[in-house]
Symmetry: C2
Subunit: 392 residues, 2 copies
């Protein structure tokens, strides 16, 4: 439902043409749950310029199915800009004329960073399930090495939604002295049972797909059916009853599409079915099933308080914090976002909770939303001492 449109790539107000970079780390990396890599690659992009003081950097973290391509386009023909192009750019809420923005892909990913689908240099074969179990904390620790590589001592802000919000919060606790401020959206401090349950359904669909082979498959020949089913289901949890009803309702397709291997009765009948099938199919073409398994596990195991009271870990935090919940988000509902801020406030931290009234569900944070834009731009410029809210 990310409705960012492909504005002319070279418009003044756009990030424009971008390219990705690969950070190749040659030092061994030990994972939280055990296991080691001799080194790893993180794919990332940057927008805007790092200033002389090197203190205007903003780190962006992506959600489960996102990537490092946050803004801009790869060519003038590229129809689809980065996933947060509406948020990032010159004069946009995350203003690339003021800030140096870094979008990093996650360790364990499948879009250029080292993950289960990468070749193990020691065997020459794909890691598959031999890839170590990755946690949100591991993602953050790997990103910290990228930050060192970029020669950035302190980040102006770390920002993310959903799984990206977990990383942002983890950053503020893991490296308190290196984070000036944090914005987390549509997220949680600990995965609850219902979210674990949905992820487990997706994983069951994948690992029981004959194409999975214990994670040992060739790209494109993997558990495509299981992954598509997992994505179709997950996609519903990113939206809302209201949003789906307004967009599709009970509208029928004029020409019915044949369902995979079925007679007429189970062909696509409703528009929403066609939309979901498309989401499933297109996901299979851009995402790796093993990474999906690893990332959903990282989500399920995420507990910022590590089993203890949230306050115990939040004490370490030095950053100012803004946590944003969206009224129609039922995956990580407003309360779960608000509760994070309440815990921060109980620790005497500089933290604010904002609730944005949008009816598009969890994915609301990806969508054009002036209310959200003003919160973000205002919060980012707050400690510059001069805040100019947009005028209407």
């Amino acid at each position: 439902m990310n409705d960012a449109e492909a504005a002319p790539a070279l418009d003044e107000g756009e990030v424009g043409l971008v390219d990705h970079h690969d950070f190749v780390c040659q030092e061994p990396f030990t994972f939280e749950e055990g296991g080691q890599l001799p080194g790893f690659t993180l794919r990332y992009e940057t927008y805007g310029k790092l200033n002389a003081a090197r203190d205007n950097a903003i780190f962006i973290f992506h959600a489960l199915s996102g990537d490092h391509h946050c803004a801009g386009v790869y060519s003038l023909q590229d129809p689809k800009p980065g996933w947060w192009n509406n948020m990032i750019g010159p004069g946009k809420p995350i203003d690339t004329s003021k800030y140096f923005v870094v979008g990093s892909n996650c360790l364990g990913g499948c879009q250029g960073s080292t993950g289960p689908s990468s070749l193990n240099p020691e065997t020459g074969k794909r890691y598959g399930l031999s890839f170590p179990q990755v946690s949100i904390r591991d993602m953050v620790r790997a990103q910290r090495r990228l930050l060192d590589h970029l020669g950035i001592e302190k980040l102006h802000c770390v920002i993310g939604g959903s799984m990206g919000g977990m990383q942002a919060l983890q950053w503020a606790i893991e490296y308190p002295e290196r984070v000036n401020s944090v914005i987390a959206m549509a997220t949680t401090s600990r995965q609850r049972a219902q979210s674990i349950a949905f992820n487990e359904v997706g994983r069951s669909a994948i690992v029981q797909d004959p194409g999975w082979h214990e994670g040992d498959y060739e790209p494109g020949k993997g558990p495509n059916v299981g992954l598509a089913v997992a994505r179709m289901m997950a996609h519903i949890t990113y939206l809302s009853d209201e949003g789906l009803e307004r967009k599709f309702g009970r509208e029928r397709k004029r020409v019915r599409e044949a369902a995979p291997a079925t007679g007429g009765f189970f062909d696509v009948e409703f528009e929403v079915e066609s939309y979901l099938r498309y989401q499933g199919k297109s996901f299979v073409n851009r995402f790796d099933a093993n990474t999906y398994l690893y990332f959903t596990k990282a989500l399920d195991r995420f507990d910022l308080g590590q089993g203890g009271p949230l306050e115990d870990v939040l004490q370490k935090m030095q950053a100012r914090a803004l946590v944003v919940g969206f009224t129609s988000d039922w995956l990580f509902p407003p309360e779960q976002n608000r509760d994070i801020v309440h815990a921060m406030l109980r620790c005497g931290k500089n933290a604010s909770y904002a609730e944005v009234n949008m009816d598009l569900g969890h994915d609301s944070f990806l969508i054009k939303a002036p209310e959200l834009y003003e919160l973000v731009s205002g919060f980012l410029s707050a400690d510059e001492g001069h805040h100019h809210p947009h005028r209407h």
Copy 2:
């Protein structure tokens, strides 16, 4: 989450030992969407006694995965009474010492009634996808023949939750002169996009399972993986975030179960995963995948107003109506239940909406709930002119 316990089968307050009956209809049946059967069988059970005036009968309709076994046990060893045993029995809200209760399995079902897994007498082979497309209205029309067979002219009440609620409402409109009152719970007058979307994910998992074979499979050798995945997902939608969190939270299993075909990382780790896997497995052993496809389609196509304003069809209704919504039901939320009553009221009908505050989600209607019990018993006895609410 149906927590009805197996009370000693012969307790005074229990329905006790029951057996099912088969109504074999020899007349051809034409389906709403076309297609015919030379005849059909409906499996049903009855509790209590039909009075001389034959006016104390209550028809119970089951939900998607339910059946005709509403109450009682099949033997003294039977550990699990019928699905609504807590609601039906002597002195219970649906009081079998006063009412003659009929629980009927649905046309298209897989528990004794004629459905896709039944043998087609003309070919000697299972119907499979050659079974006509069944609608909620077809289910009701078939039940009407059972009613005639039982020699009951007018029903004291028709009662159902979820898909059963759809049937109850359809009954009141299809045969207004034969329904004295209707109770519908946790239901809707028309399936919305989000519910269609969830059903489509389940159907995709089933029809893409190599075991489905276009619906042509032997019992037990069908799309068991797809059906289990569909059930696991659907089961989440019957519960609630609150309920799951209270029951499971982030509790880990002491001994981890091996996931179907996976290495350690994807074994069952959280209690909620184990619970869901069990739900999927046990469902496969008791339910037919084709019936699941047919019934979810019937749900998705259900629109009481048939594309027009609900009021147009509700005009026909003669029955008193009670519609009950449950606060934590997000599959058929309270508003969708309330809206049915508002439409009835706009038509000048005798209708009431009740909202029961329970946090167990859609399945709340199956669970012990004194508040619900009083509403049901009160409504059923209302036109006897003497209503004795329970005292506390």
